[in-house]
Amino acid sequence: MSTISPRRGFVALGAIGAATLTLTACVPNAGTGANAQSIAVTASDTACNVEAAEAQSGTITFTVKNDGSKVNEFYVLGSNELTIIGEVENIAPGSSRDLTVQVGPGDYFTSCKPGMIGTGVGQAAFAVTGDAVATTPEEDAVVAQYVGYVKTQTEELVPQVAAFVAAYQAGDDETARQLFPIARINYERIEPTAEQFGDLDPKIDYRKPGAIEEGLPFTGFHRIEQDLWLDEAIANYSTPEKDHYPKDDLKPLTPEERKEIGDQLVADVNELKDEVASPDFTLTLADITEGAKGLLDEVAAPDGKLPGEENEFAHTDLYDFTANVEGAQVAFDTVRGLLEANGGEDLAKQLDERFADMFALLETYGSYDEGFVFYDTVDQQQRNELAAKLTALSEPMSKLTAGVVQG
């Protein structure tokens, strides 16, 4: 559990307002509006058609028209497909809204989110060529951008968990086992933020010893995990080194119990989504940078992914591992402009290299789409190599807060 750092007096999101947000995703220097480009976007319930797939660096205004029947959102994402460069929400059916961003050369993605929930539709590559753009990022814009990312993740989390729980409650264990690691991805990307909601993380993501320790009922992802991999749990609990583990309730849950525990998880992730969507929800820069470091620490923790304790029955730790690193990478990517503006180019470059190294090694074990190997098949030497790359990344990450936050 991370502690919430003291607020540094950032303007609450509600006060910024969506309109300002769209303009400040990246703040143009004075006088760069002259060569502004305009690109039309047609959004619907199933598609997201962007008029051009490329543009010159500088100021770009996307005019998004909603031809569908659901309220829509439009996103411009970074090359990792996760960092939000800019977003415009609440585009009512039949109406149009503008999103103005200022972007340097690179690979981007565009995407729409009809109904403002789930993973979105019509994601397409968008290339920007030309010269680098000098920008002076503003702290509240950066914070707003990251808050937008957290919201997006919770919006995607809800339907993923719903699908997982539905399979579990229907007794389709095979499907539920396949969906278990997928349903956790969005949560793992924003874990430190989720932990800010004191009572939610224990209900959603506590492992059994943690729940017992704090006198809480054992619920959430790992309770279902134990039930779906019950044989593994029984075998695991009977080993001498797990002697401290409680041995009760190692019997299959009844359909009624499945319903109760599944419904609660769905309710809890919905509550998380609503908390994050609240106008009162904001973060400080230090929350973001320390959270990024915290995500990496979560991987290495004694009850974390690196030792294979996080999903001790399912052995799907590499999904969580990857998601934690992705979350850290987005947080870094979001504050990068501030880091560089403070003269931290070298640190940014080093972090880029170390993230690339980490992802390259993780890719040798699989992917979300193809599936990752089960972690109990990863031997000690391989785990040591994963640890080496993770440590190599965590060390420069420990300098990020100082590089971003002006003390």
Binding site: P240, R354, D357, L361, Q380, Q381, N384, E385, A387, A388, K389, T391, A392, E395, P396, S398, K399, T401, A402, V405, G407
Partner: protein
């Protein structure tokens, strides 16, 4: 550690130094300080004076400091300190020659500070409090504690990894591989654990205080991040060998004196002959040595049930005095020919398979090495047995010396009570000169 000035009136002959004072523990130290520091300064100063004489370095300001620079690396003939933290590192995949050189440079700078009892980098208080401190801080105020840091290179730096996707010669060192640097063969009774064996680099940290040794390894590991990664490490205590005539022979966890016939620091001719690599070695290796580490687990519970007669027969020495069973005191030569009449035959006084006989230079073509091992206890297992043993370390001019002795030990009676569970071999380059870095000649 010592705000204590060494003064002329504290000078004594080395032989008169109370050996207790040569190995002050932290608690003992504070007691001594309370009781008056004269004796302590003498102990620290005496040790440092000897060490600096041996390493050819100059006297460091801190009287508990062993000079880092010299013809040979410190931590070999330095009078064995009481505590060890030994660490093995592997280069991180994707690291090449440039990273290796940068790491050795950074380690050199850090080691120069650590052995003086100074904090690494910018110390424990960075200019910006939002940054983590450079130095981890747990040795601040403890002084130098006779810390020595001895660095070694594993064979894989020269040959690359077998069957790995690495290029054949990732560090551009293949042509610099010394002929003598052959991997250790497997020996009878080996039960080696890959996770406690080998390594591209090794660091032997020895000090009077375990916290100083651990602090050194911890900070060197941090400095290595992204280039090399800790693969395993071992804590040791209670040196099991004396490397100077000024030290009593210590006891191993079998309760016997160990390393009586060691090569001593004062024995310059033997060092040149048996320990330091010479003209047979490539230039970068001359003045260096080879370090063999063997983690030897002892089945001490069974040993403790063996009778005194049996224990002494196995070792070939008496338990209390450490004298050879052929008679005499500890430092008297064992008489391997001595026999007691037993019926029609003659029974050798020192068993044909006694440890002292099989390990003795007389039975190994005169092969001698400088042993510098430590006892260890890694907690205990779920069977009520202590995870105890000997972390054997030896330095020799050619690894073949160790191989020869170890093969001689195949019939050793002691084998019933020991298992070799970890192993490593590293080339220890010559000492570092001021302004230079570890193994610099290797890259020139």
């Amino acid at each position: 550690m010592m705000a204590v000035e060494q003064s002329a009136e504290n000078e004594k002959e080395a032989g008169e130094v109370d050996s207790e004072l040569l190995r002050p523990s932290r608690r003992g130290l504070f007691g001594l300080l309370g009781a008056g520091a004269a004796g302590l300064a003498l102990g620290g100063g005496g040790g440092a004076a000897l060490a600096s004489h041996l390493a050819g370095g100059s006297e460091a300001p801190d009287s508990g400091s062993v000079p880092f620079h010299g013809a040979h690396q410190a931590g070999i003939v330095t009078p064995a300190q009481d505590r060890l933290h030994f660490a093995a590192f592997d280069m991180v995949s994707g690291s090449g020659r440039e990273e290796l050189i940068a790491l050795l440079r950074d380690w050199t700078s850090a080691a120069e500070r650590l052995v003086r009892g100074q904090e690494v980098g910018t110390g424990i208080e960075p200019s910006n409090a939002l940054l983590p401190p450079d130095d981890t801080g747990e040795a601040t105020g403890l002084g130098a504690g006779h810390l020595t840091l001895t660095f070694g290179l594993g064979r894989r730096l020269f040959t690359g990894r077998e069957g790995a996707s690495d290029p054949d010669d990732p560090f551009g060192l293949r042509s610099r591989l010394p002929r003598a640097f052959e991997p250790l063969p497997s020996f009878a009774f080996d039960l080696l654990d890959a996770t406690q064996s080998g390594g591209d680099l090794c660091v032997q940290a020895c000090a009077d205080d375990p916290q100083i040794a651990v602090h050194a390894i911890r900070n060197l590991a941090r400095i290595a991040v992204g280039r090399a990664h800790l693969s395993w490490s071992q804590l040791g205590f209670g040196r099991t060998a004396s490397t100077s005539r000024r030290q009593d022979t210590p006891r191993n966890l079998f309760g016997f004196k160990d390393g009586t016939a060691n090569v001593m620091a004062e024995d310059t001719a033997s060092l040149e002959q048996h320990i330091w690599a010479g003209a047979e070695a490539p230039e970068w290796m001359r003045g260096g040595s080879y370090l063999v580490a063997r983690k030897i687990q002892m089945t001490i519970e069974s040993w403790d049930r063996a009778s005194l007669d049996e224990q002494e027969r196995i070792i070939g020495r008496t338990k209390r005095e450490g004298g050879p069973l052929s008679g005499g005191a500890e430092f008297d030569q064992p008489d391997f020919e001595a026999a007691v009449p037993a019926g029609d035959t003659e029974e050798p006084m020192i068993d044909v398979a006694a440890h002292v006989r099989l390990a003795h230079p007389d039975h190994n073509g005169g092969a001698r090495m400088l042993r510098r091992g430590y006892n260890y206890v890694d907690g205990s297992n779920g069977l009520g047995q202590l995870g105890a043993g000997l972390f054997f370390i030896s330095f020799q001019r050619d690894p073949e010396t160790f191989v020869r002795v170890q093969r001689s030990l195949k019939p050793d009676l002691l084998n019933e009570y020991i298992r070799h569970i970890g192993s490593g071999l590293w080339a220890i380059p010559a000492g570092v000169q001021p302004g230079g870095f570890i193994a610099q000649a290797l890259f020139e």
